[in-house]
Subunit: 307 residues, 2 copies
Amino acid sequence: MTRPMVVRDESLPAAVTIYEVGPRDGLQNESAVVPVDVKAEFVGRLVGAGLPIVEATSFVHPRWVPQLADAAELVARLPMDGPTPLPVLVPNERGLDRALEAGARHVAIFASATETFASKNLNSSLDEQMAMFEPVVVRAREAGLEVRAYVSMCFGDPWEGAVAIDQVVSVGRRLLDLGASQLSIGDTIGVGTAAHVQALVRAFGDAGTGTESLAMHFHDTYGQALANAHAALQAGITTFDASAGGLGGCPYAESATGNLATEDLVWMLDGLGIEHGVDLASLVETSVWMAGVLGKEPASAVVRALG
Amino acid sequence: MTRPMVVRDESLPAAVTIYEVGPRDGLQNESAVVPVDVKAEFVGRLVGAGLPIVEATSFVHPRWVPQLADAAELVARLPMDGPTPLPVLVPNERGLDRALEAGARHVAIFASATETFASKNLNSSLDEQMAMFEPVVVRAREAGLEVRAYVSMCFGDPWEGAVAIDQVVSVGRRLLDLGASQLSIGDTIGVGTAAHVQALVRAFGDAGTGTESLAMHFHDTYGQALANAHAALQAGITTFDASAGGLGGCPYAESATGNLATEDLVWMLDGLGIEHGVDLASLVETSVWMAGVLGKEPASAVVRALG
């Protein structure tokens, strides 16, 4: 299998954590419902390929995301107490109740950095969003769970356009103050570019939030995801969200939401000599299999080249 | 039209030159022959969109690339003495004769960085390659033309695997010594990663070849093209080859050769506040039109998102 030549840049982190979002963020954008057995196999294969953390599903109301209506059934089939954390998304307290009942050990919440998206997605203001999340985070922590907080629309918003860096830092810090242990800084519509990424990470640092509390979540809508990941590495980021095979993307639609493909990230990390623990061959095999299940071409360049 | 927020990185160049290769490097990989009038319109639209230099065609023997058999006819329809340089590729002296006769004012030669590719592509050794190019460069310069030299397989080679940086610098410097004014450093099979790019640029600098003599030519086979362009900007590179709409790529084949898409590069440069002179809307419109002519989806994320 073709692999890159390793040229190390000593100024970059020696190791990173890839937070795999394919089963949740990837599949939730797929219209054809995938059987729960296939989802369980998908998660199992990703764990087997060495992904150190795999977000398994979301306890969102089935009315909103029919694809994930089987969350409890899926969790029942997964090794939630195993060595690899398998977080689940919980949109609210009701979702947390269902996740706890099902046996979840790690949860994530999904917040907005902008008023308009909070209003469109949660039908609430930013203050109401925080009020809604507070009991979720408090109760999850009381149950011994760590809570990750997604912050969406951190680089641009379809309604508001550019999003001020200060605004993102403010929302992120409120979520950390509530008790979240990690922020996933999302470029939901993919408009961010490299210096913007670095400026945002610096602004968090200036406000007292170090890179150990930040993950970056890039979308490839305008082709920038990997360049932005390189810029984030330079800014000291060591956790990256990615989706096996670029799952969740819709490469030929204006609403393209393509997640950064895990394989393309792995290729770059391999070339840079940065440790990540993922076996690229197993991962590519998994993505080729899942693309077959879904009946579509994988959105990852590496999978297309090697698969 | 959605555009990125501008966040300038003062350590990067203030302006770059995009060397558009779509009509030559893009179209030569398309099997369906495009009529000469359409090619002339394509070049004209690219010039109209503000591309500062557009490689128009290649005077390769028609037997090898039937798509470009109309090189002389195309050149006759183009404003070769206009303000925008329209270089043509010349594989050898015979090609140079045809190019000069047709009225070309700028030419490019296509060399290999490796013995194996020189043997496969030119049926020669590296020494024989240099001997073949010497009269081409000398005669072109005597005719008042500047000569660009493509150096292919600079990051990896399908037969040799990894390619040593010293080897690339050695071949590049021989081409400059022959009289070439600019090297286009090609990652022909797309295996390079960011620190490798920066190490190669530094090695040229250490050998006395500054960034003003270098252009970078990336392929997106493994999704690395734009991350590598960002890394090259950081290393001081100010000339980038790119192909409108990612033309020349074959996104769903193992032999994927996708050129860096001009639009994706423009998006990044716009976000970084780096001047380039290209009107993105006109360029996207041109790529959408050309994709229609070819009956295929554009390989550029920006074109898919905005087109």
